[in-house]
Amino acid sequence: MDLGYLSVLLFNGLVNGAFYALLSLGLAIIFGVMRVVNFAHGAFYMLGAFAAYLLLQQAGIPFWPALLIAPLAVGLGGAVCERLLLRRLYTLDPLYSFLLTFGLTIFIQDAMRLRFGIQGQPYPLPGELASSVSLGLVSYPAYRLFVIAFSLAVCVAVWYVIERTRLGMVVRAATERTELTRALGIDVDRWITGVFAFGIALAALAGVLAAPMRNVSPLMGSELIILTFAVVVIGGLGSIAGAVAAGFLAGLLASVGAIFDPAIENVIVFALMAVILLVRPAGLFGSQEAA
């Protein structure tokens, strides 16, 4: 096999991995602190892409500002959902919040479908990154390289905040033992809205990054979310490092698998999940007690 083709596949894997990593990172943070399995994560990812699309169409705001504005706006929407809806369910079985986010997904998707139709809308590549970059053996689209580098930078920044700051310390403590953290004088609930909004903003950020690569369509999130759940399970539920590592790992394996048959790309992620569940039920980075 030609080495150039292989390296393109690996880069494609990293690009897919970057999306898995950003999405599962948000899911992991939300699940860790709130014990909410946010099924609506894919819908917020789609809203991020639509926000960028509408900013361009309606207000002429291009990609770069949209990369900041869209996640902020969608994150704010997430905060409203937490305050108005999710907050009412915390005392109930976690299944209820899962069902709520499931319903929210259907609602958001159908609302967008009603307004914009099922057809995908194209979003232009930002001009600065429309070319290709020569990597020796092959040339590769500059925008995709940007997606890899930018996602990695975001993941590292989030890791830094979580591992090295007081805010992160509280998030880690609340993730590990919510009740005890309350008993030690920390108002966990006050952090919850922020944590949810932040996880949602990460999903929206992934959506903006996806817009120039994939068509902006109401169903773009629903295809991705199931795979992302598999990635979260591989990494270990609630594990932040695990979500990022498993995201890139799943992206790479899936695209290597595509060498043999493009159709098995997604199957590989689920096969990996099955193997991990058999061998290490808590996931790659999950603690065994959490299983």
């Binding site: 310390m169 590990e176 033992r177 005890l180 953290t181 309350r182 008993a183 030690l184 920390i186 108002d187």
Partner: protein, 230 residues
Amino acid sequence: MLEVRGLSAWYGQAQALRDVGFDVREGELITLVGRNGAGKSTTLRCLMGLHRHMEGRVTLDGRDLAALPPHKRARAGLGYVPDDRGIYASLTVEENLLLPPQIGPTRWPLDRVYRAFPVLRERRAHSGAKLSGGEQQALSIARALRMGARVLLLDEPTEGLAPVLVRQLREMLLDAKREGLTMLLVEQNLRFATAVADRHYLLAQGTIVETLDATEIVARESELLRHLGV
């Protein structure tokens, strides 16, 4: 200082506490002694607001805590040292100490904590999970002292500790008491309780069956040991 009146608690339909009442006065160390399942830990969880299905009055210096969520009770001055020690594995030893807010005027600066517990200084950068049982117990108590808690609620601190560590713990609590700290100790180990406490409340099947002062408990030790089933 800490007053508990008419405390009842339930797990589903099963009543775990029935009309429990006691007082902890400023500077006192009192114990709740009783067998496994007598309701000792439940009492502490009710005081902290961690067990919701309860009735009764809990006041700290006349301030009613019943309506307050757990974090406000901690900020009001209750320092909780749970039975599993409550050490975070995802935090370093130092982060475990720094996590709670500092509240009272009696709060300990970090270097005082490290002077009192040199082993914690040595291990400050290790994960909380890497500590031995005794070190975890020290960390859990040190964390409450750093907060500046006015009343320490200690849930079976001697459990699982080697005898030499139990002796160290006893000295630690007696030191804290000399400094005027108020403590409520839940204990199955009667000998340990006898050595440190001013007063004992004997808890059986969710009710306080007897109140004994320090001298009485010595005189009636064998009877009480039988009662505790030890």
